[in-house]
Amino acid sequence: MLKDIIKLLKNKTNVDEFKITETVTTSTELFFIKDELNLSRGKDVTHINLTVYRNFEIEGKKLKGSSTTKISPTMSIEEISDKVDNASLSASFVNNEYYDLVEQTDDIPKEIKSKFSEGNVIEHISNLVKDLFSEENSVVGASINSCEFFINQKHIRIVNSNGLDVEYKSYSGQIELITEAKSETEEVELFEVLDFSDYNTSWIKKSVKQALIKTKLRAEATPLKKIKDIPVILTGEAVSTFFSYYAAKTSAQLVYQGISQSKIGDMIQTGDIIGDKVTGSSIPEMENSTYSRYYDSDGYFLKEVPMIKEGKLLRYLANKRFADYLNIEPTGAMRNIVIEGGSKSIQELKKGPHLELFNFSDFQMDVLTGNFGGEIRLGMYFDGETSIPITLGSITGNAKKVEQEMYFSKKLQKLNGFIGPKIIKIKNVSMVGN
């Protein structure tokens, strides 16, 4: 079908350039309540996304308009032709600054290995089920409520009118895991999403056990009391979300749009920094990350890019379009972030009274304003002598108010698309207790 579309596009006088992304996906999905299978699903779909470009000038300024449309495999060539004409017409009214499309290079991507590429998917998914339920009795007092398993195998091909023709395979798995435990008064639950790109039995088992341990802790937790002026320790996904504020500081798109004022060489942490400074990079491939790939959505070949060194912005993360706009070298768009560890051990960071937070309803960081916060589902309050599991309550803060004195653990953690400090300690955070 791709051949027919390309032939059609080449014969169209109203199409100056084009990009086609074809994604062929096969999925297997299982849905469990307790340890019983309730529904099984399979999927075979092909998606073709076509971007049509029009190049034109207005008042001597070179412009490029684009419009993206989805082509279904069931469409006739006449239907596709109509869609192309509509997209072309729309693109001719989109007055964006001109940029070049990505060109083919001689770079050879490494093969991203996954056990999901070999053998039978139903065997793989049943192994995941077996691994997960093998841990069910590992924590007395906590159990698995329900879970959903997904394995996706994708083949992606990106072609453009500039001669680019690249393809790669991608594998991703996801387990949505609900664990429960009973407190003296009621049952509690925790919600975890495990994303992965390879089969790793020990990681699955460890993740399930950790979820069960945390759920049991939540059952023992008491509502957070009114406390103030103690440091907060973020752990797990909240750490990755917190650093998204600094990753956004490297965005060429936000700079072009005038939203970000970050300049190369500037400190991205404001004020007098007496704590740790952020050092980070973007990488194309990370073990067991569903974001690992050597081409971005434009087909640009991806390489490791150091972005921030000791709080100083080294380079913008820019796809081809925004790199052209800012007249800089593109990096391509990457989703795997590495943040270096800090100056202190976990033991040092946990000295003195603090509130350590493990799970939120939904910890959020607004990358434009730096506002962050969330409702606490599980944390540990340490008053200097004893630790008490706590729940409910919430925290709010702003990155600009905490970045002068924040400390990152030397020890790192690995999440989906993120390697960085296992914990971070911040001050000047507002807390709402009961």
Partner: protein, 476 residues
């Protein structure tokens, strides 16, 4: 004018019926949902503009069969090889199930779906066909709106306008059912972004409906509202954490309804024993001022339809009546398991995803109070306006709402102080039982510009809203 069923689905109907008939020889229950949704999104900002297919655009099918114990599904988007489709659904529902059983996996038994004969169709109505309006005009009018916004104040660094037009076409064919519907909706959002002293602040408004291009007529008035809100945020303070009297505007009321007892009564959660609401049916969960509804037939908004993605007709569910939790909302398989009547809330993100119990149009009904009286009654508190996000906790009834801003009220008068952002958290029954005033249905507003997820996935289009409510809330 009326939305029309897509030509593609109309042409494939016979083929789909034949496929159902063919598969029915081997399976006791077979249904096929066909979806053909077209839509476009338009965006303008100070530096860039965009046009493209809506993320809701899709064309494909999902087969559901009874595998003898429970149900199996197959999603696909090519009809070229019917033999392959038949072979794949058999593989998923027979061969794979056999392998899973051999691996020791236990299957949870579900009853067979027992349908009544039903043929029906629904086509939504609108004034002006948005697809007939040229892209040029849409982009021109959006650019005009953006420029009006940018000129409102020197601090604006951007004023983004986005517009989406979507026409959903769906058919549902089973042995006994033959359903078709086409629903057209549009939505717009306006985001003002300003900077002062290096700090960026923004706010937005969204509006939607089962309406056509006439939605643009509402847009101009919204620019001023957004501009004033963003400017007020430039000098906003952080709220001093604590408990306050709060008045929630219709958008915040809707968010609370949605997060508190929308997700909390999705009955697939009852099957999993994940919803505390299950044990509170027939009991008091809110103040006697509270009445809450959800349903495809409860309102005419983006959650409106004739039938859901499992072929069940949409209904109007009274969830809370004068403080008492009356009923949950249900998909078909959960209702089968629970022995209840499905409410037509089985919805899929797309033909590629599983159906879950999901909300449609969710709102608090109006009361007898006026906003003026509500403001006058506040000793110290805030009126909460607009929101960025919310998160449910159906098992433990926690609630998290990220509110765009609060305007301070002391002794019944606005002080001019604005706080932002505001995190509203707490225990759902405490919040709902504290509702002491509800404004009349004259203030009723529903909107569905965004999408609702279940956990962190499975996005579906819903509308939420209500009137102004006065309560006591924990802010941070």
């Amino acid at each position: 004018m009326k939305a029309k069923l897509s030509e593609y689905l109309t042409n494939q109907k016979l083929k789909i019926k034949e496929l159902v008939a063919d598969l029915s020889k081997e399976f006791k229950y077979v249904s096929i949902l066909g979806a053909d949704t077209i839509g476009y999104t338009y965006g303008v900002s100070r530096t860039t503009s965009s046009v493209g297919d809506s993320s809701w655009s899709e064309r494909g099918f999902v087969i559901r069969v009874y595998n003898g114990i429970n149900y199996s599904e197959y999603s696909f988007n090519s009809l070229d090889n019917l033999e392959n489709i038949k072979s794949r659904i058999k593989e998923i529902s027979v061969s794979d199930i056999t392998i899973l059983k051999e691996k020791g996996i236990i299957l949870n038994k579900y009853p067979l779906i027992d349908e009544d004969e039903l043929t029906d169709e629904f086509y939504s109505e609108y004034d002006q066909d948005p697809f007939a309006v040229p892209s040029e005009e849409k982009l021109k009018r959006m650019t005009e709106l953006m420029n009006i916004g940018l000129q409102k104040d020197e601090h604006f660094i951007d004023f983004r306008v986005s517009y989406e037009e979507v026409k959903i076409s769906k058919i549902f064919i089973s042995t006994k059912k033959d359903l078709a519907q086409s629903i057209l909706y549009t939505n717009m959002s306006i985001v003002g972004i300003a900077r002062k002293d290096g700090n960026v602040k923004y706010d937005y408004t969204g509006f939607s409906g089962l309406i056509g291009f006439e939605i643009f007529n509402q847009a101009k008035d919204k620019i001023d509202i957004v501009a004033k809100s963003v400017i007020s945020l430039l000098d906003a303070k952080r709220v001093k954490p604590g408990e306050y009297e709060i008045i929630c505007d219709p958008s915040v009321s809707g968010l609370i309804a949605h997060e508190a007892f929308g997700h909390g009564v999705e009955m697939d959660m009852f099957v999993k024993n994940r919803a505390k609401g299950q044990e509170f049916i027939g009991k008091e969960v809110a103040s006697d001022k509270v009445n809450m509804r959800d349903g495809a037939k409860s309102a005419v908004e983006v959650g409106t339809y004739l039938f859901d993605d499992e072929g069940t007709l949409g209904t109007d569910t009274l969830i809370i009546e004068n403080s008492i939790l009356k009923s949950g909302i249900s998909d078909l398989l959960s209702a089968l398991k629970l022995g209840t009547v499905p409410t037509g809330n089985g919805r899929r993100e797309s033909f590629e995803r599983k159906a879950y119990a999901r909300m449609t149009n969710t709102f608090f009904e109006g009361g007898n109070d006026s906003l003026d009286d509500m403001v006058k009654s506040v000793k110290k508190g805030y009126i909460l306006e607009g929101y960025f996000s919310g998160m449910e906790d159906p098992k433990n009834w926690g609630i998290q709402c990220v509110i765009a801003k609060g305007r301070e009220i002391i002794d019944g008068k606005f002080t001019g102080v604005v706080v932002s952002p505001v995190l509203l958290t707490g225990y759902v029954p405490d919040l709902l039982k504290s509702i002491s005033m509800v404004s009349t249905n004259n203030d009723m507003e529903l909107s569905g510009t965004g999408a609702c997820g279940k956990g962190y996935k499975e996005w579906v289009k819903t509308s939420t809203g209500g009137t102004y409510i006065k309560a006591v809330g924990r802010l941070g």
